[in-house]
Symmetry: C3
Subunit: 428 residues, 3 copies
């Protein structure tokens, strides 16, 4: 099943790979349209020029074509071959230039001579091309014709939102960035895993409400935060999803708070799954930078495999369809579902009989002949009773008792069924 | 002296060993009557049917005889030989049964074929016998006559209480369970050490008030808590005493609070005495489960040697007079007295001259010629002065200064005698 | 330059070495007069008999001469040869004594037969001499004439104070004791390093106000505290400076609070400088005992190299000019300046745009072409923005971000220049 799931996830990555995404424009719209097959995404359009916190929604950028021709009319660089060839948000240009004049507009990676870098120029009036260093060094002194046929004009910023209501209004925010073009791990893996998570959530009973965001990086989360400023206090937990397809072990980066329930949940789930890495919050990374800015300080961590910038393929043409592995995608999805399942089941109960232990025997919760050692379920019952004073969640109890969360959850359900516990609102 | 003390303690264990104790009944009464030779115990009788917290005081059980005879009239199992042979609280029965019919009522330990298990059936309408697995396996297909001649009818639950008033009303609770029949370590060792502790306390000046409880396990402490619910806030420290005679190293299990004064005192005393073990609270064990239930959350730890369930002899006939060692009993008593002595002497003082050091020299508390290194007593004086700001007890100071408690206590007494300190109420 | 600085510091130690300092008297006055060449010291005189906290300012002691002559008129011990030969505060005496009568007044070090001990008798009516154990053991049975020609009469206690005002009234207290005679490390090293620190501070821009105290040990700091009791709450940070010339590694002893800014600053600076030692507060040592008495509890640590009492030369004639090393003096001065520089620059800022990140690009604080890895300066900008919520100082941020303080300070200055931060008052 995992093999099938991995293959299905990878097929989605492959299908979305050629679409020319950027901060704004039709590539984002087309991506969201296709994800609509998996879950009901509401597409939001925010006009260029809108003030969002300290920022302004930029003009919309759409690229028709971008290429460099040599004097023999050969298109030596062409964005049709790879969307990485053109610097994102390049302004339109049509000119004939010497190599010396062209050179400042060309970006390559001398250390990785066969890879094309990914570069953007979102908020500067510039244009440029990216190519392999091998090609760059071989360029003869010639006259080149360059063409960036793009529109950069008032339009809108596009993002997708999907709210899946639960029994309570407490929300789980799941956010992934959708602004990167042909890069597989960063972030088609995140986009696809998020969409599948959404589909899975949409089909199950939800105690919590879930909100999935498919936003362009930075400006997208800032726009969403600006438009939802008064409602962010509903966010009880959150995950930024990114870089979930590479072969590295899973990594969880804690929220700014460092000990939020989502932080402890991710650590608890990862501890039961083998090799992994836990990182403290840093203000470098993806949209957790915005969700965890001091004025919001939301309990939002970041789930990934190898952190961005720590795999050499990062932001290059080598972050391709081969770098993204089906089994890694499936493992990431399973990990994310395990974290969300625990978050959803992690309730706080109040023992209704806090003075002394209640008599479990007459309720059939204890073996009738005493004197032998307790089984793990009995211990779970006793731990839940002892710590259900309104200050300990089931996760707290599992950690304190060193018992699996499942055992604690089952014990709590049994005790609640005998009216020995009542659920109380969770602290966050 | 320790050898004599150990022998005396062991003699008491031996004398109490044959008495048929259970949750209720004459065995408990006879045990308390004998302990009355050591300290003035008030015997409390609580009628069957009394509601105590979530529980009900059970009918009283008294056993006259219990045996199994084979078809040749041979008593192959007889509670007269060992009180363990009959399942505690067995209902009366007199019947002739095939082996197949008898078999569900027989309990043995296949892994320990020569030991008789200890089993009870307090709150279920059942009967049974315990025997060695070797004997069980050798039973021929035969017709057996079984007899449990017992009364199980309205009576009362019996417990013993001894209050030793001190200079303050702050109480130290010492609790031990008295419901086990012929088991030496669990819990004749605890009963006898508690009684000797009581005798020692009754003969000395007491700053604190001490209350000793000799109660049947679980229902006894629940009964006491139910009847004293409004007065438990006087309990400043407490110890459950159990399993104090086996050859293992001492173990202290912390209260639910984990950092109560009794927890830190026990750790401090044990640290100065060689091998030992400190355990965090768990809601499995003895009556600390009730004292530390969330609605009471009393600062009560548990002092033992090898924890129950961690020695193979636990709850079997092998927990016998040979398993209980005189030197272990004496060591446990000395350890408990050391803990109580520290608790009793652990006061909080306020330095009356908190700005700058007071001039110790003119009060004769400093050597007249300066320049040499300070002795430990000088350091203790300075530490007590520096930390006696009302927030540090003498134990706090000893721990912070890494000095023996005695040195700190002596320094405080010297400073108080010079009117440089005044005692203030202790936080708990 | 360090070599020159070390030589200059050592020259000062050498010049001050022969002066006969004590708790009071002309030796202290002469020492302060000479230090006046380095910084403007205000000399304070407090009359004998003045009540200061629990103490009384003692009579002033001035020694003219002190010697022992044998029956042949040979001066076998003479304070002119070493100020250590006479017990400090010896009362005047002129007598002819047998060896047996003289013996109780003689102090030596049997374990160090060639060293003269340093002994005082400040608050007792006594007299005595210190000499090498070798000399003491060789003394023949003879009649000796002893002379202590000293005045011990109403006068005053002398100390020096130098206040260097800064932009704020928050003060840094720098305290060193000046009561020791010919002892190089304890404490001419501290006196000279403190005076050079004062000179350095007097020549630079100061955010904080600095107050240097040159006081006799214990009674001097107690006197200053008594006279400034209502103003000590201005002291935001402080260092006692002592034993700064021996060849050992630097040691910092924390304030009583243990986590004061000065404690964390010293630890941060030392961590970047190789071998060193951090000690918790103890109420034994130098004037930090008074500053950290519970009624004041000031954030004052102690900077030294080998702690007093831990080098064998301590309080003996072997703590001489050879034991004090020029390079150690220079290193200590540099260390102290680094600590004070960090304390002075350690401010707290409030991010004016706490919701989301501000757009650094349009302010020129970000490289225009994105996609590459961030340099350390960019990270510092992001850390400062993320943690400048009014609860984190620049030092907090440097520690949390594991960045050099300098990088964080530079980032904060850049952000403040763009009006993205405003300074707020520091918590202490």
């Amino acid at each position: 099943m995992t093999a099938n799931l991995g293959a299905e996830l990878h097929r989605w990555v492959r299908d979305l790979y050629p679409i020319g995404r950027s901060l704004t424009g039709d590539g984002v719209r087309e991506t969201l349209r296709r994800l609509g097959e998996l879950l009901p995404i509401v597409v939001q359009e925010v006009p260029s020029g809108t003030r969002v916190l300290d920022w302004t929604v930029p003009p919309e950028w759409n690229l028709r074509e971008a290429w460099i021709e040599n004097s023999r009319g050969e298109r030596i660089v062409d964005a049709r071959r790879s969307t990485l060839h053109v610097v994102g948000y390049s302004r339109p240009v049509r000119a004939r230039l010497t190599l010396a004049e062209l050179r400042p507009h060309l970006h390559s990676l001398p250390d990785r001579p066969d890879w094309i870098p990914y570069r953007t120029s979102y908020y500067a009036d510039a244009w440029g091309f990216c190519l392999t260093d091998r090609q760059l060094r071989a360029l003869p002194d010639d006259r080149y014709e360059v063409c960036v046929d793009a529109t950069l004009q008032p339009g809108s910023l596009t993002y997708g939102e999907c709210k899946l209501p639960g029994e309570t209004e407490d929300e789980v925010l799941l956010s992934t960035h959708v602004c990167h073009p042909a890069l597989g791990n960063d972030n088609l893996s995140g986009i696809v895993v998020a969409a599948f998570l959404g589909r899975w959530l949409s089909e199950r009973r939800r105690r919590l409400t879930y909100r999935l965001l498919f936003v362009p990086g930075t400006i997208g989360s800032i726009t969403w935060l600006a438009r939802n400023e008064s409602r962010v206090d509903r966010i009880a937990h959150g995950l930024v999803l990114t870089c979930l397809g590479d072969p590295g072990a899973p990594t969880y980066k804690r929220s700014r708070r460092g000990d939020a329930v989502i932080d402890r949940t991710a650590a608890h789930v990862l501890a039961g799954r083998g090799a992994h890495q836990l990182l403290d919050f840093t203000p470098w990374g993806y949209d957790e930078r915005q969700y965890c800015s001091p004025g919001f300080d939301l309990p939002v961590g970041c789930l990934m495999r190898t952190p961005h910038g720590q795999f050499p393929q990062y932001h290059t043409s080598a972050d391709d369809l081969a770098f993204v592995r089906p089994d890694a995608l499936a493992d990431s999805l399973e990990l994310a579902t395990a974290i969300l399942e625990l978050v959803d089941r992690n309730r706080v109960f109040m023992n209704r009989q806090q003075k002394g232990e209640p008599q479990l025997g007459r309720r059939g919760l204890y073996p009738p002949v005493g004197g032998g050692p307790p089984g793990p379920d009995q211990l779970a019952l006793l731990w839940v009773l002892n710590l259900s004073d309104g200050r300990h969640s089931l996760l707290d109890i599992a950690e304190r008792a060193r018992l699996p969360f499942d055992a604690v959850d089952r014990a709590a359900s049994a005790l609640a069924a005998h009216d020995l516990l009542r659920e109380v609102p969770s602290a966050r």
